[in-house]
């Protein structure tokens, strides 16, 4: 069991499974295929990200350094949150990037989404957590790898 403390951007208590990307997650490339199909689950569709490609990320804790790619990114996060097919939590090892931040804010203010976002969890967090690990997230930004 190992604990990490980050900065709470959108808080909440949650326990569930981790999906880990060691490279920046391209939001549009990752979510667009499932969103366009009106799918019930998001299977990550970014062919350039072997860590998460074709993995189910709906209702999981997506652990990542930052998001990258097109500036539609925030709107894409807002959309998947509105569709309720979003990752339950976005756990950033680095400072959140502007596109992901936009998406989290839009989802919270305009969709009343309970999506959780914590950033600055550190490189060691991303080196420790593995896809399939169970995580416990606390309101104060503590993430426990069980």
């Amino acid at each position: 069991m190992k604990q990490f403390k980050g900065r709470v951007l959108a808080g909440g208590n949650w326990k569930g499974e981790a999906v880990v990307s060691h490279q920046g997650v391209n939001t549009l490339a990752t979510f667009q295929k499932s969103a366009l199909k009106n799918a019930k689950q998001v299977y990550a569709s970014d062919q350039n990200n072997p860590d998460i490609y074709e993995k189910n990320i709906t209702g999981k804790a997506l652990c990542l350094p930052i998001t990258i790619g097109s500036t539609t990114g925030g709107l894409v996060i807002q959309t998947v949150c509105a569709m309720k097919i979003n990752p339950a939590a976005f756990l950033f090892s680095q400072h959140i990037d502007s596109l992901a931040a936009s998406g989290i804010v839009l989802a919270r203010i305009w969709e009343n989404s309970p999506v959780i976002a914590i950033d600055q969890l550190g490189d060691e967090f991303l080196n420790t957590v593995k896809t399939g690990d169970t995580l416990e997230i606390s309101e104060d930004g503590t993430v426990t790898v069980l």
Binding site: G24, N38, N48, S70, Q78, A82, S98, A101, L106, I109
Partner: protein
């Protein structure tokens, strides 16, 4: 009581308190919460009033977008300075589709296009020709000047405005681009600040010839991600003046840095405005370094996955112009296609070829005899967004080729360098 850390002026606080309506309050709250995340201490005025929006497509599934737009319209708010917007997804007259594709586009994918364009007009869209990702081109006219603060999105436009024009804009997301234009303020952080514009990477270009813009940008984007690179050695190939050709090169280079990574600003030594003015004063302490030689570019190029089902077959559809081609690029591609066909003793391209450019650029090009020359080759010219076209799952029937690293990243299109793609579409055999 303001629950946010940011210091607001009396006017801004009044907006947040709902004195100008509930909707405008929510718009401002979004910007304040967003700015708080980045430690922005204040909102600053948008000095270039014309916005640019990234979201141009009425995809039926983007319900949050349409419902938010409805709320804005009902609340009586709009972008007073107007805005341009990314390209339309469809153009049946010039971007041929079969019956099934049309059905999917019209009834499923872009079923809300007309409704959404009506919404855009109501909140400030400047004109029906302003659908382009390259809004900064002379012909389009949404051109900020050095030092201007913008509220734009579209990654390729933002990186161009910051780097080539010297304007100041963060990598805003869709919706926040419009929100900043509506209230006339954006949070002051990141690429708006002098500190945020400092480079944290020194990139040394040591190639034997001018690197392919899209591959060089891709290499740098994948390496530095969201950081600011200061690039040495490129002026050797590009010179020290921002000519039309150089600006076109930097447009394509920047789009690749922004889509293959998350670059919002780059400096090119002795070339881009801030690098010319400030030079190495733009370097932050303890910069990391990245050397790009022929071998590194080749490694990056060969790392691109080929997503076609049948990788051995030749491509059967080609898109050139993501981001939209400049006028000089359009002329140049026309000349190259015509010359290559002549050398191959052919009259028509052997692969369906679609060139894309801004509506205002296309209108100018149509006034020249080169337009007839281009059309005579069998190539077509349109103003759609190739990426939006490839969103249709039926496009998997095609093996799409492109010289755009952005399109490659977001679709199953296969990337080829300019010279390779020219040979493919004009039927020139390998080795010739």
């Amino acid at each position: 009581m303001n629950k946010y850390k940011m210091q607001l002026t009396a006017e801004q606080q009044a907006i947040l308190d709902g004195k100008q309506g509930e909707v405008k309050a929510k718009v401002l709250e979004t910007l304040v919460m967003f700015g708080d995340i980045f430690g922005a201490e204040k909102l600053v005025p948008v000095t270039h009033k014309q916005g640019h929006l990234v979201t141009s497509f009425g995809i039926g599934l983007l319900k949050p977008l349409f419902s938010t737009m409805d709320k804005l319209i009902a609340g009586g708010v709009k972008a007073e300075g107007g805005f341009s917007v990314d390209p339309r997804p469809l153009d049946y007259a010039n971007g041929k589709c079969n019956f099934l594709e049309k059905l999917v586009f019209d009834k499923i994918l872009y079923s809300k296009q007309e409704m959404y364009e009506n919404q855009l007009r109501k909140v400030g869209l400047t004109g029906s020709s302003k659908f382009t990702c390259a809004c900064y081109l002379d012909e389009v006219g949404n051109q900020p000047k050095e030092g201007d603060v913008l509220s734009w999105a579209e990654s390729s436009a933002v990186v161009y405005a910051n780097s080539v024009l010297g304007a100041r804009c963060n990598r805003n997301s869709g919706m926040l681009d419009l929100f900043g234009s509506i209230v006339g303020y954006v949070p002051y952080f990141g690429l708006l600040t002098d500190e945020g514009r400092k480079a944290t990477w020194k990139v040394y270009v040591k190639t034997s010839k001018k690197p392919e813009a899209q591959v060089l940008g891709s290499a740098i984007g994948m390496k530095v991600m969201e950081d600011v690179p200061y690039v040495y050695g490129l002026d050797k190939f590009l010179g020290s003046e921002l000519t039309d050709d150089v600006k076109a090169y930097l447009k394509d280079f920047g789009a690749a840095t922004a889509s293959n990574g998350a670059v919002g600003l780059y400096h090119i030594d002795s070339l881009t405005p801030e690098a010319k003015r400030l030079g190495e004063k733009l370097l932050a302490e303890n910069c990391r370094e990245y050397v790009i030689d022929d071998a590194e570019l080749d490694r990056v190029y060969k790392s691109y996955p080929v997503m076609w089902k049948n990788k051995e077959k030749e491509g059967n559809l080609c898109f050139i112009g993501c981001p939209h081609l400049t006028y000089s690029q359009l002329c140049d591609w026309t000349d190259k296609i015509v010359a290559s066909l002549k050398a191959a003793n052919r009259k028509k391209v052997v692969v369906r070829t679609v060139l894309t450019s801004a509506p205002d650029v296309v209108a100018k090009f149509k006034q020249t005899k080169k337009y007839a020359e281009l059309i005579a080759t069998g190539a077509t010219l349109t103003s759609i967004c190739p990426l939006m076209y490839t969103n249709n799952p039926l496009t998997k029937m095609h093996r799409i080729m492109t010289n755009s690293n952005k399109l490659r990243t977001y679709s199953a299109a296969r990337y080829y360098k300019d010279e390779e793609i020219l040979k493919k579409i004009t039927g020139v055999k390998e080795g010739k």
